[in-house]
Amino acid sequence: MHFFVVLIPPSLYGMLILSAGLHFNIFNPEKMEASITWVIRNMGVCFVPAGVGIMNYFDLIQASGVQVLAFTIVTTIVLMILVGWSFQKLFREFKDE
């Protein structure tokens, strides 16, 4: 049983270290803002090759594409409502100004 061995993707540690470094004034946010904005704005292209892999799953799309689509839409809406509703109900004191 490896339940207690939490395997976080290594790059996530990098993200937390960057965030902590900025928070504790080790890094200078003004110096990196422009390049980071560029990276985040353009990172979409990096997902294309992985997504093109869907061409190897045409049988799956034919057999259960509609179910996958419906499943994704329904569970996304449920998660959205769950988060929004619980935040609003549990913490009524946060009225928008």
Binding site: F3, V6, L7, I8, P9, P10, S11, L12, G14, M15, L16, I17, L18, S19, L22, H23, P29, M32, I36, V39, I40, M43, G44, V45, C46, F47, V48, P49, A50, G51, V52, G53, I54, M55, Y57, L60, S64, Q67, V68, F71, T72, I73, T75, T76, I77, V78, L79, M80, I81, L82, V83, G84, W85, S86, F87, Q88, L90, F94, K95, D96
Partner: protein, 244 residues
Amino acid sequence: MNEFDFSRIDIAAEITTFLIYCLSTLLIYQGFAYLQRATKQIWLNPMLLTMLVVIPLLLANNIAFEHYYQYSKIYSFLLEPAIVALGFPLYQQVQTIRAQFNKVMLVLVSSISLMLAVNVVMAVYIFNQHDIAVSLALKSITTPIALALTEQMRGIAAITAVAIIIAGLVGAIWGIRILNFLGIKSKRAQGLAIGCASHALGTSNISQISYQHGAFSSLALILSAIITAIFSPIIIPMILSLMA
């Protein structure tokens, strides 16, 4: 001497293939990204449209995905530094909403853990395939982290990538309307809900409404990715082994 020449020719061919695949992917993507910026239509998602152009191109030329991916996987490697870059918006948002940070975490951790479990159980029940269940359970978070987790838990990267775009479009197109209809009208709750369920696509869309929407949504997008990265490697294999 002969062998040396051969290897030189091979390297030249390899580099040409690499450049053709990478540059054409980039050009098609940039074209669609420009189109989206010009038209401001959410559903003209450049990732989705690029796939819809690249796949028929590969099929028409009888190129296997494996061949294409072998040369274009440098893009997947670039996802790692892209994740690190997300530390910057995390730093900015934690500053602005420090006072509510604990409560935000409470709502996100409980909702995400619950929905991870529900997703896996339902997906195994409907599709009867563990790899699809892993992919569909990870669809709510930002693509780079979801793909890293998919690989780790042996899901199907392509299905994760496509399901993520669908989840993003759902929140970006219908999110505000559904939440308003249900009386969830607080800006913070709406931002949190859409950032959590529809990651960057939803965030970029609702950030135009108000600053609070944007701040809560970008915080939710990054925190839910971190929470999912911590909890999914525990919850998903546990449920899969129980249902096996």
